[in-house]
């Protein structure tokens, strides 16, 4: 009889409900599967992308790269100085010494001139052809996963239930910001306002923008969608946006990791691996439901 009772109380389709009432089934198998496919794809796309960038470590604004004129807004390079070779990073013409990481890096006495260091690129040695093979393979995985997630989330209600912002979210925003700043986290079924904003902007702004600017760099796709580069401000601007969105995704990843460690890494990891999440015990005397970290 116990097994019957268990299956009746199960919220999700693929796990048995434990007796503990604070454990809830929070993440569907689609959310979990696509989450990890993105994690893997973005890891490989970032490191192969930095390798591709190393082939031409400059970013330009416009249709083309200025060689007889200057439309460079960002550059990483190396130069010889009185103190030996130094690496530099130049942003809007302002130069910073980034020796050891950007421009000039490597093991002691074996430093080389390379924009992003060996530990940040796939392959670790200079190989543009291979980086492209890796990058475009995972581009297919990433894009397919995004489509699968979108369809699954529309069908299973994840989108409507968990991500669509409501009037309530706006009202709760100030308190959410204060709670996050104090590292005070609530654990509940629902995402809080800042979570909705962060996840929503990754899914509906950053990843689509990454795919669009990636397509805008493809000469064949330019023939299919010629308006894309007109819209973005030219192929080289598209490449620059692609790079900036990469930085924003890395920033998201860092905050994502910090939040997970602050909110309880075991519980957070469990929910994205098994789907089960431990919520806070019901708060007595509180009128507004508390919402998850």
């Amino acid at each position: 009889m116990q097994s019957v009772a268990r299956s009746q109380s199960t919220v999700g389709p693929d796990a048995a409900a434990p007796k503990d009432a604070t454990l809830i089934y929070r993440q569907s198998r689609w959310t979990r599967l696509t989450h990890w496919l993105w994690a893997i794809s973005l890891f490989f796309m970032l490191l192969s992308g930095l390798q591709i960038f190393n082939a031409r470590p400059q970013l330009y604004i416009g249709k083309e790269s200025g060689f007889a004129y200057n439309n460079t807004i960002f550059a990483i390079g190396a130069e010889n100085t009185a103190n030996g070779p130094r690496g530099y990073t130049e942003i809007f013409g302002k130069r910073f010494d980034t020796t050891g990481v950007l421009g000039w890096s490597g093991p002691a006495e074996q430093e080389t001139s390379r924009a992003f260091p060996s530990w940040a690129t796939i392959p670790s040695y200079y190989d543009l052809g291979t980086a492209r093979v890796v990058h475009f393979f995972f581009a297919w995985i990433l894009t397919t996963t995004l489509v699968v997630w979108l369809v699954a989330s529309l069908v299973n209600g994840h989108l409507r239930r968990d991500l669509v912002p409501r009037i309530d979210d706006l009202r709760r925003l100030p308190r959410d910001i204060v709670d996050h700043a104090k590292l005070k986290f609530h654990h509940s079924r629902e995402y809080n306002t800042l979570q909705k904003m962060a996840y929503g902007s990754v899914m509906f702004v950053l990843l689509p923008l990454m795919i669009i600017t990636g397509l805008a760099m493809s000469p064949s796709m330019n023939a299919v969608l010629p308006f894309l580069n007109d819209l973005l401000g030219g192929r080289q601007t598209a490449r620059t946006i692609h790079f900036i969105v990469m930085l924003l995704l890395v920033a998201f990843f860092i905050v994502h990791m910090l939040m997970i460690f602050a909110a309880g890494p075991i519980n957070e990891l469990r929910s994205i691996i098994t789907g089960w999440y431990r919520t806070d015990p019901p708060a007595h005397g509180s009128k507004t439901p508390q919402r998850g970290a």
Partner: protein
């Protein structure tokens, strides 16, 4: 319940330790799986075939964007070999390419041998397009040349031909078995595309040596390494087996994808 939590916790802790360990040592392990011919590498390269089919399906005969005179703001940036050091080439250059011929051979009914004058007397096409180098830079220039489709028509391509291979005059690499001259290939869809021209003019002037004189191909819907310079011979083939390392081009034999539309 307590037992469940602990075992799960142990699992997660060891799993995350394991993952970070793999990440740290994994980069080197991954490197060694990525050489040309490795199983993992070949699997990942399968994505290029998918991209090729998908873009062929989407692109059809559509044209690459063309630009205006106002968009030409600088000389075309030369890349790769810019001054061939080959005796044959230097001899042809000394005579202003009067003795140069473009051979068309392989799977054709009528092999051709065309002088520069013969090519220039054929109908020409001029287009202002953006050259996208695999490294990431772009440069806009005006190219004039003979549509490759007209040359192929004249040579009458045999039905079993699948690819057009370009053989060049410039030495790109040296190996134990001798100098390697640049070579590359495209499919017949791009070969017959209206913007695919055998260019002899750049920005209203004869094609300079650094940009591929006397003749280079423009394949406007692909990346720069797919547009060989210093053309000597065009060969129609049904497979790459007999061409270089068998992957369809010099850079392809060195790990680049064959389809360069992306």
């Amino acid at each position: 319940m307590l037992k469940f939590v602990i075992s799960r916790r142990k699992f997660l802790t060891s799993a995350s330790l394991g993952v970070s360990g793999i990440m740290l040592s994994g980069c080197d392990a991954f490197d060694s799986q990525l050489r040309v011919g490795d199983g993992l590498r070949s699997f990942l390269e399968g994505a290029n075939g998918l991209t090729w089919r998908a873009q062929r399906l989407l692109a059809g005969d559509s044209l690459a964007p063309e630009f205006t005179e106002a968009d030409i703001r600088q000389p075309q940036r030369p890349n790769g070999v810019t001054a061939p050091d080959d005796d044959v080439y230097k001899g042809l250059l000394a005579n202003n390419f009067a003795d140069w011929r473009l051979e068309v051979s392989g799977l054709v009914e009528k092999p051709l041998s065309l002088s520069r004058e013969q090519l220039m007397n054929m109908p020409s096409r001029t287009q202002i397009t953006r050259h996208d180098c695999v490294e990431g830079w772009s440069c806009i220039a005006k190219w004039t040349g003979t549509p490759l489709s007209l040359v192929l028509e004249q040579a009458v391509v045999k039905p079993q031909a699948r690819y057009v291979v370009f053989h060049c005059l410039d030495t790109i690499d040296r190996s134990l078995s001798g100098d390697i001259k640049y070579y590359g290939s495209i499919d017949l869809i791009d070969a017959r595309h209206p913007q695919t021209i055998l260019a002899y003019g750049l920005n209203g002037k004869p094609l300079p040596v650094e940009n591929g004189a006397p003749l280079r191909v423009r394949v406007e819907r692909q990346i720069g390494y797919k547009m060989p310079k210093y053309l000597r011979r065009i060969e129609l083939v049904d497979s790459f087996a007999a061409i270089g390392g068998g992957r369809g081009g010099y850079w392809e034999d060195n790990g680049y994808d064959w389809y360069g539309g992306i």
